[in-house]
């Protein structure tokens, strides 16, 4: 019964891995995989000797880190808050309102963001009312991460909270009762019953998230950035896009992709090991 799935994985996931060899060759589509010249670590060397290497790795890591730091707890907090609400109508309304942005195309969201952040835009108007001066927000490197992660949270918080709400509903009512009898107030209940109750869900999702850490949203950055904020906005994938793909430098892009994937693998395995050590949950 498992055989078809096994075949699928071998054929479509494992076999094509031989294509990664183009990271070590000077791949020209017209010559093909096997006849392209072997160059070994040349493209890796090129990448690491670029003056931007440290900056783009730093940007990628920071963006991912902040994204997890702020973006990961947000849906959990929302789920906890929604869970506390008594009124069913209010609950449903909030849920619908918060997860609708998930369905808006990223291109539209960035378009909105661009119009809101220009000097004459709405966000700047609000800032002015609060006493700050108007600034072209997408031209200031230090604001980029905030805008990127903030808009991400706005878009994904509702959808992300769904899975936590599902997990929350699975917590045994009797545990809450027991806690109340022991004299726990709402806050203590949350800390000692709710959070441990959804702990497995949180950990699995966290591990998966960490495994994607270096794959920071390439399309969104490309849409949002411009040369004046490369300092904080240029990440590994956008850099490789400009340097590698735009000139059909497949091998360069493949080499960096391989580097990316290896780092992700290391992070994933480490996260899993740590999780196995300190809790009962892990991916494998």
């Amino acid at each position: 019964m498992v055989l078809p799935i096994m075949i699928y994985f071998v054929l479509f996931k494992y076999l094509p891995m031989y294509g990664t060899m183009i990271a070590f060759k000077n791949y020209k589509p017209i010559i093909g995989f096997f006849d392209s010249e072997w160059v070994g670590l040349r493209y890796f060397h090129q990448f690491f000797s670029s003056i931007y290497c440290w900056r783009i790795i730093k940007n990628t890591l920071l963006l991912s880190l902040y994204s997890i730091l702020w973006g990961f707890p947000a849906p959990i907090i929302l789920a906890l808050l929604i869970n506390e609400v008594r009124s069913k109508v209010f609950k449903k309304t909030i849920q619908t309102i918060t997860y609708i942005p998930h369905f808006i195309s990223m291109v539209v969201v960035v378009g909105l963001l661009k119009d809101l952040t220009i000097t004459s835009g709405l966000i700047n108007t609000i800032r002015e009312l609060m006493g700050f001066s108007r600034e072209p927000l997408l031209q200031i490197p230090s604001y980029f991460r905030t805008l990127f992660i903030g808009s991400d949270i706005w878009q994904q918080i509702g959808w992300g909270s769904i899975i936590y709400l599902a997990a929350l509903s699975g917590i045994d009512e009797q545990l809450y009762e027991a806690a109340r009898i022991d004299g726990a107030n709402r806050w203590k209940q949350t800390l000692h019953v709710t959070l441990p109750g959804i702990q497995p869900t949180i950990i699995i999702l966290l591990i998966l998230r960490i495994g994607k850490m270096l794959n920071i949203g390439f399309e969104k950055i490309i849409l949002m950035y411009n040369p004046s904020i490369y300092e904080t906005a240029d990440v590994i994938s956008t850099h490789v896009y400009r340097i590698g793909l735009l000139d059909n430098n497949f091998s360069y892009a493949a080499a960096i992709g391989l580097f990316n994937a290896i780092i992700n693998l290391i992070l994933l395995v480490s996260a899993n090991q740590l999780s196995k050590k300190y809790s009962d949950t892990s991916l494998w």
């Binding site: 090129q46 003056i51 000097t119 031209q139 040369p227 004046s228 059909n248």
Partner: protein, 531 residues
Amino acid sequence: MKKMLILLLLLSLLTGLIGCRGEKLSEETGGSQQSDSVTDNGATERPKLTYWFGLSSFLRDQVTNFGETPLGLQIQENAGVDIEFIHPAGDSDDEIKNSLNLLIASGKFPDIIEYKFFDHYQGGPERALADGFLMDLTELIPEQAPDLFTYLKNNPDIDKAVKTDSGKYYTFPFLRGSEIQTVFFGPIVRTDYLEKLGLDEPETIEDWYGMLKAFKEELDIPAPLTYESWMNNETLGVMMGAYKTANDFFIDDTGVVKYGPATDEYKEFLTEFNKWYREGLLDVDIASLDRKQVEAKVVNGDAGASIGYSGSRLGSWLRATEESNPEFNMVGVTYPVLNKGEKPFYGHRSRMYPGYGAALTTQCSNVEAAMRLLNYGYTNEGHMLFDYGTEGITYDMKDGKPYYTDKYSDSDNRFRDLYVRTTSCGPFIQGPFHNFGYEYLPQQKESIEKWNYSNVGQHMLPFVAPLEDEIDEYAMLFNQINSYREEMFYKFLFGQESLDNFQEYVSNMEQMGLQKVIQIKQDAVDRYNNR
């Protein structure tokens, strides 16, 4: 109830899937379906060819295959060939590049391909020939493409441009019939504002400064000069030419190739531009504006001057405000200079041969038919078809001269592209009349004449490419330098980096290999001149 909903959902999913596949089928057989109906009345079998090129975005929502358009049918009829058109998905440069790469990787080539071989094929046409992708046409063109060959012999400069460095022919090129068609981009100014302020059209940088300042202070315009942020690249040369430099490689008055952003004159330009930015004369958001935002500002009067194309910017802004704001008037002005009376050093010019054309692949199944088909575009009849379309529908003859019909002049490319190819590119020579049929507003004609006035022809690099073995090195070095240049431009412009550090910026570029890059370009230019 629930079961009904689930059933409905499944049905809609299925129809979606089938719908998609159906489209794809018609895309590939659309051409041959048409050709089947045409061969029915011919006694002999017409040769069949496959033809790959990017379908214009205006046609995409109307047809799935070029073979369905009146022009597509007419070409097959006139040239006596059945064509199966194949179109890559997407119409942005990058998507078409991607499609071509996939095509090459698949190993199965169509008979004819239209593409911008010069700029977009890595390694250029010489490489495409060496890779065994395109067919060498050097022996074939003189005999089998007589009309094209005659034109090239009569225009030796063009002949040089369409060959490879080693003198081989590889393409049926898209050519502009006259110099004036290569100019269509430059600075544009609100002339009604100038009238209000009693100013003349600006000629020198000083004039510009005065004008922008007056816009800001006397008319309260928030963004006196605004333009789309991508124009901060090579096209900014239209403003920089005043300082006798460019935002790109250029050839100076002694014939030496220089890189504009590393010259001292560039520093002078940046100093001035930085002043404009600090005094609020340049749009604060200049690094992040897109087309729609700029259009909104211009049309609403939040800007007094911009940079753009005569058709898609100036033309559409004028048309957008025709009724809502009859006072609105904009026109292109000459590229600025430093001292009154000088002729602009640099500016914008497209090329007579922009690098686009049709070519035969090495897997072309019927060379004779393909040559005949592609040569057709250069005959008189072909020229009329591609440029003017169908008599009676898109043009009429008056006193032996063709004039566009009202239906053509009043419509946009959605209609035009069904009958002509002159609105974009193709294997033919674009007639000079094209511009004046398309750009009918007097302001546009005036703009083009003004923008035509410059010495850019002597200073712009010809279309050149590095040698085979230089390409990888060139690409790696230059991409870094270009990225650095872009960032530093904004840093200098916004004042985040002091212009006192300009020398450091130049030596950084030197360290990144600037001299090698310039040398490669210089060699390429020398090879071009010796073709």
